[in-house]
């Protein structure tokens, strides 16, 4: 067996695995194993492996060194405050072996249970259960008619009908401004030149009169003044016109 161990270090799942096997070969409860004997056996295995010039991976050697240290610590006369305490190191190794052994046994017992597909069998071809998801569509009556209003508003041909309103034409404004401007020697606001008391016509009259004022200014017949954008617009007759 020892020869096989030496030749098949790779067959062991690491030093702890080998140690557990060696411990079990002592055929005693793991709590009563002889740690010294265990250390001797492990070191012997490693020595043989090296004698056979096998590659021995680092973790095996680390464990060997640690065990060699443990062995000497256990054999030497106890120092009162040795750090680490060799007895505790040995206990630690024993606890680890116990835990690994416990899980190894548990795994074996688990595998021995009645397992589906090996010992017990489900139906080979069950019908299966199906859940058919059905959407319960929700929309309110208001949303429906609101949508129709929205479409109608969006897509109907929009027809802009301008009501038939009285307007002052540019020609009328030119004639009117030309007639009254001669009297405007002082600066006067443009509003002073609009026809009075006709609110309906006022916006149209203002627009036309403004354009007429621009045209007369271009002809050099009036002067325009404005302090800033949107400030009141003033006009007066041009000096040349005044003398005429």
């Amino acid at each position: 067996m020892d020869e096989a161990l030496a030749l098949e270090l790779d067959g062991w799942e690491g030093p702890l695995d080998l140690l557990l096997s060696l411990a079990r070969s002592q055929k005693v409860d793991l709590r009563r194993i002889s740690i010294l004997q265990l250390v001797e056996q492990y070191l012997a295995v490693i020595d043989r492996a090296r004698a056979l010039k096998l590659e021995v991976a680092a973790d095996w050697l680390v464990m060997a060194a640690w065990l060699a240290f443990l062995k000497s610590a256990l054999l030497l006369p106890r120092e009162p405050h040795a750090e680490p305490d060799p007895e505790q190191m040995a206990l630690r190794l024993q606890l680890r072996l116990e835990r690994l052994a416990a899980m190894r046994d548990a795994g074996a017992r688990l595998m021995a249970r009645d397992r589906i597909g090996r010992d017990v069998f489900p139906r080979a071809d069950p019908e299966g259960l199906h859940t058919v998801r059905k959407a319960l569509w929700q929309v309110s009556y208001f949303e429906l008619i609101e949508a129709y209003g929205r479409i109608t508003a969006r897509t109907r041909p929009v027809l802009h009908v301008v009501a038939d309103r009285r307007v002052m034409t540019l020609e009328d404004a030119m004639a009117r401004l030309s007639a009254v401007i001669g009297r405007a020697v002082a600066w006067s606001q443009i509003e002073a030149f609009l026809p009075k008391a006709d609110e309906e016509l006022r916006r149209s009259a203002l627009a036309s009169t403004f354009l007429a004022a621009l045209e007369l200014a271009r002809q050099g017949r009036v002067e325009l003044r404005q302090e800033e954008a949107f400030a009141p617009l003033y006009l007066r007759v041009a000096p040349a016109e005044r003398s005429a």
């Binding site: 069998f121 489900p122 139906r123 080979a124 071809d125 019908e127 299966g128 259960l129 199906h130 859940t131 058919v132 998801r133 059905k134 959407a135 319960l136 569509w137 929700q138 929309v139 009556y141 949303e143 429906l144 008619i145 609101e146 949508a147 129709y148 209003g149 929205r150 479409i151 109608t152 508003a153 969006r154 897509t155 109907r156 041909p157 929009v158 027809l159 802009h160 009908v161």
Partner: protein, 191 residues
């Protein structure tokens, strides 16, 4: 259940685990010596009236769900979902203009509709195909269903508010007040 004997139990397990109906001989190959046919008859009796039955089809036997319980294996689950904006608009157009073709719906909406939109409305049970129009391409038309009226609490489509009602309710806001009240009922057909 009365405890069955070993042969009956064995036949039961073999039938249960089988991938397909088995002949008595195939069962016997598993369970060994014994009167498999008698065991099958006993099993069929044992399962009579249960949720599972042991049935014979020709020379083969199998276990299956009791026929009257098949509906339990399928379960419908309703999940409330809001109709998309495209869905609501399409539904409204169909309701106001039915019967109406897809091209006409798109002309009214001013946007294309995806195939899924009409499918959803039909799945909801609110819209149905309403025959083909005798026009080039013979387009399929759509109309609403009685379920549509029921869902919205309408006695008939005439109960849908007219354009004037919508306007009065402020639902037509952006439209110029001088717009003559014509057109909608016709322009879809012209599209």
């Amino acid at each position: 259940m009365t405890p069955p004997d070993d042969l009956v139990r064995a036949v039961e397990a073999v039938l249960f685990a089988a991938a397909e109906p088995l002949t008595a001989d195939a069962i016997a190959a598993h369970v060994g010596a014994g009167d498999v046919r008698a065991a099958l008859s006993r099993l069929a009796q044992d399962y009579a009236g249960r949720g599972v039955s042991v049935v014979r089809r020709g020379e083969r036997w199998h276990m299956q769900t009791a026929a009257d319980l098949a509906h339990l294996l399928r379960r419908d689950r309703e999940e409330p979902r809001r109709l998309s904006r495209a869905g609501v608009e399409t539904l409204a157009i169909i309701a106001y203009h039915e019967p109406v073709s897809r091209a006409e719906i798109e002309a009214v909406r001013g946007v294309q509709i995806s195939k899924g939109t009409l499918d959803v409305l039909m799945e909801a049970g609110w819209v149905r195909p309403a025959g083909r129009r005798e026009a080039p391409g013979r387009p399929l038309t759509y109309a609403t269903t009685p379920a549509f009226l029921a869902h919205f609490g309408l006695a008939s489509r005439r109960d849908l508010p007219g354009i004037d009602d919508l306007r009065a309710a402020g639902l037509l806001d952006p439209v110029d007040s001088a717009l003559p009240d014509t057109g909608v009922e016709k322009d879809s057909e012209d599209a």
